[in-house]
Structure formats: structure tokens, C-alpha cells
């Protein structure tokens, strides 16, 4: 690992963090509406996993996908415009926070039915196989999604057909207010995944370098046709489930404990200790990010909304 690379990872995570912090402000200001699910605390997962992927690999994410979209390279501007409900948004303002799409970047959403994206990822992988492309499809989902029947059906299909899918479980210990051990009889999620006969590993989801390494290992296997792999990233969401969550279900102390393992601080401290990061570099990084986000907001703010007459466009394809 070059420090260059690590600094880039740090920058990416920080960018997601600052982007979402702004989203909270914009939500309070009613610029963003609907449901808003923050990735804050979990940035290392998407950031790390995308290091292992190629730009032509397919991605399916959930409603908690700002980080994934940003890490994938979907421009901050078009994500911000989307959340503002503007026609310049990555889904023309029709999807909002939960439904970011960017087909050109093989980013297939933004799915807000828990576990509903998994079969899609399996199908994308099937298409790749049938069309002779050596792509990998990656699918992100929470540990809560693993109780859904669609998890079971999707992993079985992918395993049975040995399809190139990387299933990334973001185990943040809660599904809304339901703790893992109140949702899964089997709390070791890799045991569940392994029962389908697939490769399954767990990784510290707060350590972006560990995530990157684990994802790279898994993807290498998946890409050469070893069948699907399951990667559990053990992480934590620092914020509420969404904007409306009074967080009755967990102790403040638990949250504070996890914050000590903030993935950004962890990496930054390591870089500082090694002398690869100083206050000045940090400040420059913050400034560049702040500028980018401010720019994105300004552009989103100024952008037009979709004409009401276009409401029915794309219910079916325009031919």
C-alpha cells in the first residue's frame, strides 16, 4: 500500500462523511425530503469494496446508498440534485435519496425493498456469464435483510449456478431497532452463508484497508469463476436509522464505544503516526471536499425541476 493510495481512501471516506453531514443540514432546511438514511460510520465498507472492483462491474445497493454512489464515481452534483428533486439529478429527481441510479456506471440503484436487490444482482451476473463477460456483480445489503426469503433464494441461485456475485453484508448490528440477535437465530452470518456451499468471510468493517484486502481476495475468486462469495463487514451506524428514529433501542454508550473506532479517525491516525498526514494536508483535504460539496449544493439549488408534463415519461420506454 502506498500512502498515496491510503490518502485517497481517507479522502473518499471523508468526502462521504461530509456529504452526508450536509445532507442532514439540508434535511433540516427542508431542501431534502422523504426518507434519508445515513451511512455515517460505515464509510469504510463501500470505500474498501470498490477498490476491488472494475468500473464495468455491476452494483446493486440499498436505500442507504449515498456512500456507494459516491465511491462508485456517481458525481456528487448529480446525487445532490437528486435529493433536491431536480431534473439534473441522477434519477431526474424521481428517486430521491433511496433511489440513486447511474446506468452508465453500472450502478443499478438504490433499492428500498429490503433484500429486493439481491435477485437483481444474481441476474446481472447471469447475463455476464451468458454474454461471456468477466464482470462481477456486487450487492450490498444489511444484516437485517438476511432474514428475508429473498436472501435465501438469491444466494442459493448464485451458488447453484456458480455465478460471479459478491454479496456484501453490512452488518451494523441493527435493522432499524432490531438487534441482530433478535432477528437471526444464527448470529454468525458467515455460518449461514457458508451453508450454501460458498466462500464466506467476515472483516472488520471499520478498517478500510482490511475491507479492501478482503474484497480483493473474494473478487479475485469470484471473477475467475469460483462462484459467488459472501463478505460480512462488521460495522456500525453512528446515526439514527433515518431522520425519524428516536433510537430507543440502543444505549448511547454503545454508540460512543463504536465511535472510538470511527473508520476515518482510524485511518487518519495511522497515517499521522506514520507521518503521511499532517494538519495542513488534512485541512487541504477538508477544504477541497467542502468546496466540492458547496459547489454541488449550489448547482443543485440552481437546477430546474422536471416539467410536470413529463410525469408520465418513462413509464414505458420512448421508442
Amino acid at each position: 500500500m502506498t500512502s498515496e493510495h491510503e490518502l485517497d481512501l481517507l479522502r473518499q471516506m471523508l468526502r462521504i462523511r461530509r456529504f452526508e453531514e450536509k445532507c442532514v443540514e439540508l434535511y433540516s432546511a427542508s431542501k431534502i425530503r422523504g426518507f434519508l438514511h445515513l451511512y455515517i460510520g460505515e464509510e469504510a465498507v463501500a470505500t474498501g469494496v470498490f477498490q476491488a472492483l472494475r468500473p464495468d462491474d455491476s452494483v446493486v445497493a440499498t436505500y442507504r446508498e449515498h456512500g456507494h454512489a459516491l465511491a462508485r464515481g456517481v458525481p456528487a452534483e448529480s446525487i445532490m440534485a437528486e435529493m433536491f428533486g431536480k431534473v439534473t439529478g441522477c434519477s431526474r429527481g424521481r428517486g430521491g435519496s433511496m433511489h440513486l441510479f447511474d446506468a452508465e456506471r453500472h450502478f443499478y440503484g438504490g433499492n428500498a425493498i429490503v433484500a429486493g436487490g439481491l435477485p437483481i444482482a444474481v441476474g446481472l451476473a447471469l447475463a455476464d456469464r451468458m454474454l461471456g463477460r468477466d464482470r462481477v456483480s456486487v450487492c450490498f445489503f444489511g444484516e437485517g435483510a438476511m432474514a428475508e426469503g429473498e436472501f435465501h433464494e438469491s444466494v442459493n441461485l448464485a451458488a447453484l449456478w456458480r455465478l460471479p456475485v459478491l454479496f456484501v453484508c453490512e452488518n451494523n448490528l441493527y435493522a432499524m431497532g432490531t438487534a441482530l440477535d433478535r432477528s437471526e437465530a444464527q448470529v454468525d452470518l458467515t455460518v449461514k452463508a457458508r451453508s450454501y456451499g460458498i466462500r464466506a468471510t467476515a472483516v472488520d468493517g471499520m478498517d478500510v484497508l482490511a475491507v479492501e484486502a478482503a474484497a480483493a481476495d473474494a473478487v479475485a475468486d469470484v471473477r475467475v469463476g469460483a462462484g459467488p462469495a459472501f463478505l460480512e463487514a462488521r460495522t456500525y451506524r453512528f446515526r439514527a436509522h433515518s431522520m425519524y428514529d428516536p433510537e430507543l433501542y440502543r444505549e448511547k454508550a454503545e454508540v460512543e464505544r463504536w465511535k472510538l473506532r470511527d473508520p476515518i479517525t482510524l485511518l487518519a491516525d495511522r497515517l499521522r503516526a506514520r507521518g503521511d498526514l499532517d494538519d495542513e494536508a488534512w485541512a487541504a483535504m477538508e477544504a477541497a471536499i467542502a468546496e466540492e460539496i458547496a459547489g454541488a449544493i449550489a448547482v443543485a439549488e440552481a437546477a430546474p425541476v422536471e416539467a410536470v408534463e413529463d410525469l408520465t415519461r418513462f413509464v414505458t420506454s420512448e421508442v
Partner: protein, 325 residues
């Protein structure tokens, strides 16, 4: 006393849990989280985790388990967070809850109540904004309710629990914060009859659930324009209280249906068909429908508003029937 739709629902749940030991509430996040829309907040502390039972994300599994528990002698209240997710449990609702009694020749009644949120209006986009209660109203063996007022939020649950067969209750997401006066002794209400929410002699406007308020607003505006609309709240979507509807239409000779569902194939279509079947010669104009645009619900506020039934469209529809269509 002043209360909200949410609190009225909660009181109804409390009453049910207090009155009948066989009653329990089950669903995703009904317990520790307090309910995804805070309806069941506090009930876990009061009744404990056996009777206020959090479930994993497994809509088909826990709805089916509710059906089994009903067969086994309990009186489950199952909460599905929203109707959007209920598709995952539809097989259980249709092929088991609604079917077992008839298919078993009368042996296996399923006294379950399933509550869920429905509807748009909160910028939640295409996967969280469906109004699919009309589909459920298509299924023989189910009773389908849509409380639109504080009284009904407070009173329908107990009556539903006393029904020996499955009852679905649809709570429109925009109603939870509805605030108003409710009698201290408010309790169980009938679940058979539609209610005339505004009497009027010029045209009958039929609606239910989340669009009742919009429809009443439209009636006010029509009144200012000199048109006296009667507004009927269906309350029960299956069975439909046709006598109340036909009685009104036979007086006004004009009908408009307001339904948040996508127009084609929504409950509004059935209402038009029934009115035509029973009161064709009483009609002075074709029945009009004001429904949602047939699009996946968009996030952007102006687009969502454009997709939903609004006051101007209702006013225009009533004016059209006044002119004879």
C-alpha cells in the same frame, strides 16, 4: 379530549391487549423501536415482549405465523410496516388467511387482524407510496377497512378483533399526525357501514382513507361555488356498503369517486361498475373518477403532488358531472 390518529390507534391497541389475553401484536419494530410510525410506542414496556413481539424482516414468515397462531386459538394483530412490503406476504394472505375457511369446508376460521400503512404524500418515492388496498378488496374471505377519522382509528380495531375472519386495516401514512377531538369514552365502532361525512344534495363524492380530507376540502370549495356535494367515506372497502352509496346517488343523480390508487383497475372502477349496475337510470351524468396518475410515484414534491388526487381535480370532476359529463 384532544388526540391524534396515531394516539387513537395506540389506545385501541392498548385496549385490545388489556381486554383479551389472546391478543398480541407482532411485526417488524413494533417493540423496541416503538413502531416504524411510533404507533405502538410504550406498549412493549406495558405488555412485554411476548405480547408485543418484534419480528425479523420476514413478511411472509410472520404473517403466516400470525395465521397459524389464529388457527391455534390466539387473536393476533400483525403489523406490516407498509402495504408496499405486504406483497411479500400476499401469498399467505390470499392463499391461507382468506382461503382456509372455505377450502376446509368451514372448519378453519382465521381470526387475524393485519394492519398496514398505505399511500403517498410524503415524498417516499416509488417503492414506498403504493395504495394497493383495492387489491385486497378483491379477495373473497377478507374484510378490508380504512379508518379515515379519529373515531375509526380508535374504534375499528376492537370490532375487527371480534370478527371470526381475517380483517385488514389500512392506515394512510399522512393521517398519523391528524389532530382533533375524540370523546373520552370513544370505543368500538361498527365496521359495516359507509358514513356520510358531509351531507349535500347536488352530487355524491365517494372516497376513503387518505383522500377524505382532500375531498372535504374540495366540497368546501364547491360550496363556495354554489355546489352542495355529499361526501361519503367508505370506511369498509370489502364488503362495500352499497345501500348507503346508492341511497345518496339516487338522490343526487351524480357521482364522483376519489381514490388514491392508480386509476386503471383501482377500487374506483368497482364503485363505478356497481353504481352503473344498480342506479344507471338514476344517473344524470357519467360517473367520474379522480385517481392517481398511472406512474410509479416520483420523489420530487411537485411531481408527487401532480400524481395525486388534489382539490382542483375533484372540484373539476364534480363540476363536470353537474354539467352532465
Amino acid at each position: 379530549m384532544e388526540t391524534t390518529y396515531r394516539e387513537a390507534l395506540r389506545e385501541a391497541l392498548r385496549e385490545a391487549l388489556l381486554r383479551d389475553d389472546r391478543v398480541f401484536l407482532m411485526g417488524e419494530d413494533v417493540g423496541c423501536y416503538g413502531g416504524c410510525f411510533a404507533v405502538s410506542k410504550g406498549l412493549l414496556d406495558e405488555f412485554g415482549p411476548e405480547r408485543v413481539r418484534d419480528t425479523p424482516l420476514s413478511e411472509s414468515g410472520f404473517v403466516g405465523a400470525g395465521i397459524g397462531a389464529a388457527l391455534g386459538g390466539m387473536r393476533p394483530i400483525v403489523e406490516i410496516m407498509t402495504v408496499n412490503f405486504s406483497l411479500l406476504a400476499l401469498d399467505q394472505i390470499m392463499n391461507n388467511a382468506a382461503t382456509l375457511l372455505h377450502m376446509s369446508g368451514g372448519q378453519c376460521a382465521v381470526p387475524i387482524v393485519i394492519r398496514m400503512t398505505t399511500g403517498a404524500g410524503r415524498q417516499l418515492a416509488a417503492q414506498h407510496s403504493h395504495s394497493l388496498e383495492g387489491w385486497y378488496a378483491h379477495i373473497p374471505g377478507l374484510r378490508v377497512l380504512a379508518p379515515a377519522t379519529l373515531e375509526d382509528a380508535r374504534g375499528m380495531l376492537w370490532t375487527a378483533l371480534e370478527d371470526p375472519d381475517p380483517v385488514l386495516i389500512f392506515e394512510h401514512g399522512t393521517l398519523y399526525n391528524l389532530r382533533g377531538e375524540l370523546a373520552e369514552d370513544a370505543g368500538a365502532v361498527d365496521i359495516d357501514r359507509a358514513a356520510v361525512r358531509r351531507a349535500g344534495g347536488d352530487a355524491t363524492v365517494i372516497t376513503y382513507g387518505g383522500t377524505l380530507g382532500t375531498t372535504l376540502d374540495a366540497a368546501d370549495e364547491l360550496a363556495r361555488k354554489g355546489v352542495d356535494a355529499e361526501v361519503i367515506d367508505l370506511r369498509s372497502l370489502r364488503p362495500l356498503d352499497m345501500p348507503t352509496l346508492l341511497d345518496s346517488v339516487r338522490r343526487t343523480h351524480r357521482a364522483v369517486i376519489v381514490d388514491e390508487g392508480w386509476r386503471s383497475g383501482s377500487l374506483s372502477a368497482e364503485l363505478v361498475a356497481r353504481i352503473v349496475e344498480h342506479a344507471f337510470y338514476d344517473l344524470d351524468a357519467p360517473v367520474e373518477r379522480v385517481c392517481s396518475a398511472e406512474v410509479p410515484m416520483p420523489y420530487a414534491q411537485h411531481l408527487e403532488a401532480a400524481a395525486l388526487p388534489q382539490v382542483p381535480a375533484i372540484v373539476e370532476a364534480v363540476e363536470r358531472v353537474m354539467r352532465g359529463g
